[in-house]
């Protein structure tokens, strides 16, 4: 089969040269390299794939910095399994096309064992095909909508179901049942809103309006027009990025009162409140697993250590950075566990790390937000969501923290699709489907 295909092409395209090289692969993948992913005596290479330039750099540059900070910390403490970690940092330039180009460079050329990267779902989906085709391992360290069930991505940010579980009942209890949903116009806000509706129903709340603005859109008057008509008890916001800042500024200009109708957001963190000015942010609520002001020794060490290091130029820590920081430690523990299973570091493959990552725990001594662990079925993270209220200095005061860890459920609102397990999506008809995107 292979030979005949080759002969055919040879005639058609490039004649005898093909035979000269003996190029063994045409439409089929290059046979796997025999070389090990990690070489004894060398360094362990990991990919760092965020945007350092362009409009996404605002957030993703911090992600790069915090990954480097975590790796420095790990190396200073003896590395992983006695080996030093070497980050391969690439710049995705805020361009979706470049994400897909750079991930293939990391996997195929640089042969990193795992990659940390991405802040937007779009970038995750752009890298997913090759990550899955090469059975690689990708750590996606931020909020995420779920509904996927892949065997090559580990997520260390909160899922939609983890966000809403505490926030919605809290808001309804304190401000009233009527909610107006405002989000950026893409999938994550829509999924988050669906989860929010599930919880609203349970606590007797009611949706009085739902609106989406384009990404980067900054005109909220038409929406506030409808909000004024509906008189909701609070606004539930999944508006991201620059739009989020415009939302808060225009909220203030429109004369809404934060004690009457506050915004409960899944996105407005320390970076955003600083950029919108203190008076625009103060009084609103945020659901996140982490706040810079959390009071525990680990967080104190993390904030002080990070801000004092050469990576801490941004001046704040926030939930996205902390989740990224955690992902590096999740990976570290994964490699160590895989080594224990395989016996030889040269035997360790990306997929092996992923397969042993279930139940891996990052303890109080490392995790600034407190103990977290990876779900053994769907490889998302167990965490304690918290609710913070923005103060006049742009920092958040934690006013409610979950007592128990909340489990991640990527299929929470799609039970009819099946259950996500380690080996794939177990569909209702009994079949198992892998790589569900």
């Amino acid at each position: 089969m292979k030979v005949s295909r080759r002969t055919l092409l040879k005639g058609a395209i490039s004649g005898a040269t093909v035979a000269a090289v003996g190029a063994p692969h045409f439409f089929i993948p290059n046979p796997a390299f025999a070389a090990p992913w990690i070489e004894k005596g060398g360094k362990i290479k990991v990919g760092v794939l965020f945007s350092q330039t362009g409009n996404l750099a605002v957030v993703e540059n911090d992600s790069t910095q915090v990954v480097l900070y975590a790796i420095d910390e790990i190396n200073a403490n003896g590395g992983v399994a006695g080996m030093q970690v070497e980050p391969v940092v690439v710049d995705a330039k805020s361009d979706i096309k470049v994400y897909s180009e750079k991930i293939s460079q990391l996997i195929l050329r640089d042969r990193v064992i795992s990659t940390f990267g991405g802040y937007t779902s779009a970038s995750r989906r752009a890298v997913a095909p090759i990550v899955m085709a090469r059975d690689h391992l990708f750590y996606y360290p931020t909020c995420y909508e779920g509904r996927e069930c892949t065997q090559n991505i580990i997520n260390t940010g909160p899922l939609a179901n983890q966000h809403s579980q505490d926030l919605i009942p809290f808001m309804v209890e304190n401000f009233g049942p009527k909610v107006y949903l405002i989000g950026s116009n893409y999938i994550w806000p829509k999924e988050s809103n669906k989860n929010a509706k599930v919880w609203l129903e349970r606590v007797g709340g009611e949706v009085v309006g739902e609106d989406y603005v384009p990404l980067g859109g900054s005109e909220f008057t038409p929406i506030f027009n409808k909000v004024r008509q509906q008189q909701p008890s609070f606004i539930f916001s999944t508006v991201v990025g620059d739009s989020d800042i415009a939302l808060h500024k225009q909220y203030l200009q429109e004369g809404f009162k934060v004690d009457k109708m506050p915004i409960a957001s899944l996105t407005t963190g320390e970076i955003e409140t600083r950029a919108m000015g203190a008076e625009a942010g103060a009084g609103h609520f945020l659901s996140a697993p982490y706040f810079q002001t959390m009071e525990n020794p680990t967080n104190q060490r993390f904030v002080e250590g990070y801000l004092a290091s050469k990576y801490g130029g941004g001046g704040v820590t926030h939930y996205n950075m902390e989740e990224t920081y955690l992902s590096v430690y999740v990976w570290k523990h994964g490699v160590e566990k895989a080594l224990a299973t395989a016996g030889d570091i040269e035997e360790v493959t990306p997929r092996m790390i992923r397969d042993v990552s279930g139940n891996i725990e990052v303890g109080d001594d490392i995790s600034p937000e407190g103990r977290v662990w990876i779900d053994p079925d769907n490889f998302n993270i167990w965490l304690k969501p918290k609710i913070g209220q923005c103060q006049s200095d742009g920092q958040f005061k934690v006013i409610k923290a979950a007592d128990e860890h909340v489990g991640p459920d990527p299929m929470s609102i799609y039970p009819e699709r099946g259950v996500c397990k380690a080996d794939g999506l177990h569909q209702p008809d009994g079949t198992v489907k892998t790589s569900v995107l």
Partner: protein
């Protein structure tokens, strides 16, 4: 112009053939799947630049809408590949549709169950759209700057559409088919030499076809229309007809690029329909030389290659350099690198052909002529 070897047709064909042969042979030297895939991406960009060179350089229609054809084809291809992954019984709809409460496959997706029909739509829809859009514009004798702005607005409209129609397009997240393209019982791995050769073959065949076409009388008339549409009209040519044909051809080229793109990247999102992307294509062609198809290819390889390699080294200042290059090319090399070669080769042949490039001013120069008279 006899003396200048740049204008010698035999020499031109020799150079073109040599260039494509070299591209086809590259896998010998770069066996790394990453490099092959990267080069294949450049070939796709080069094909886009060729489509701009055809429509702008030869026909004088500055289209900022090439991304429309590219994006539509890319969506078509991604939908074809996504449906190859779906199963009619156990998993009949792509999972992103669930977010939007779709329970059955929407009508626009249904034809993509069949790969041949999917492929026909991939190439057909953008081409037909360009024919319709072309008729709309050129029948009304829209020209020059207005073409640029109308295509720009149309690109923005399609972007909003792809972005907003989330039940059908997955919106900003885009569609990433989980498996590579399957055809004739084979899987086309995006990182294989085969996938690379598919891209090179598309680039070579379509470029050579365009080159041939521009040397026929059709090409001559197209260039005549670029110089003075009214004159051509009074010589009995249906100018709008010619413009629609060229515009549709360039749309087909851009659509082919979109097809190849998803073949080797397995992903599409509304960014493929972005204005920024659409203008970048024009810039590649401008850098390489819009009046030369090979020049456009070189421009695309050069700018994107620099972006991949130099861009990483110089990170923060890279965009400054890129911007400066564009300005420099427009100011000092209006015909791009190809024009520069033409000039240099002209010097060697002992006769210097003055560079004239005011044809693209269209109306302005017509006005000047009148007032001068």
């Amino acid at each position: 112009m006899n003396g200048n070897i740049y204008h010698n047709r035999k020499a031109q064909w020799a150079i073109y053939l040599a260039a494509f042969a070299a591209l086809a042979l590259l896998p010998i030297f770069f066996d790394s799947p990453f490099t092959l895939n990267l080069l294949a991406r450049y070939c796709v960009f080069a094909l886009l630049a060729v489509s701009v060179s055809l429509v702008w350089g030869y026909a004088g229609i500055l289209s900022l809408g090439q991304a429309i054809a590219f994006g539509l084809a890319a969506y078509g291809m991604a939908m074809t590949m996504q449906m190859q992954y779906q199963d009619p019984v156990s998993d009949p709809i792509p999972s992103f549709m669930l977010t939007n409460e779709l329970e059955t496959l929407p009508l626009v997706w249904a034809p993509f169950w069949s790969t041949p029909i999917g492929l026909i739509l991939t190439f057909g829809v953008p081409t037909v759209f360009f024919i319709v859009f072309g008729i709309l514009m050129f029948q009304a004798r829209v020209a020059g700057v207005f073409v640029a702005i109308m295509t720009l607005a149309m690109t923005a409209a399609w972007y909003s559409m792809a972005y907003d129609m989330q039940p059908f397009t997955a919106g900003f997240n885009g569609i990433s088919p989980p498996l590579p393209f399957q055809i004739f019982g084979t899987e086309v791995d995006p990182y294989s030499a085969g996938a690379y050769w598919v891209c090179v073959a598309f680039l070579a065949v379509l470029t050579l076809g365009a080159k041939f076409l521009m040397q026929t009388k059709f090409g001559l008339i197209v260039q005549a229309i670029r110089d003075d549409a009214e004159r051509a009209r009074f010589l009995g040519y249906n100018v709008a007809y010619y413009q629609v044909v060229v515009f549709a051809l360039s749309g087909f080229l851009a659509a082919s690029a979109g097809f190849c793109w998803v073949l080797i990247v397995q992903y599409v999102s509304p960014t493929s329909l972005e204005i920024v992307f659409s203008i970048s294509i024009v810039i590649w062609a401008a850098v390489g030389g819009r009046t030369s198809l090979l020049g456009a290819i070189i421009g695309a390889f050069l700018v994107n290659g620099m972006q991949s390699f130099v861009g990483d080294e110089l990170q923060q200042v890279w965009m400054l350099i890129l911007g400066a290059i564009f300005i420099g090319v427009v100011l000092f090399l209006p015909r791009g690198l190809a024009g520069f070669f033409e000039l240099v080769l002209g010097l060697f042949s002992g006769r210097r052909e003055p560079q004239k490039s005011d044809w693209n001013t269209g109306r302005t120069s017509a006005v000047t002529k009148e007032s001068a008279e």
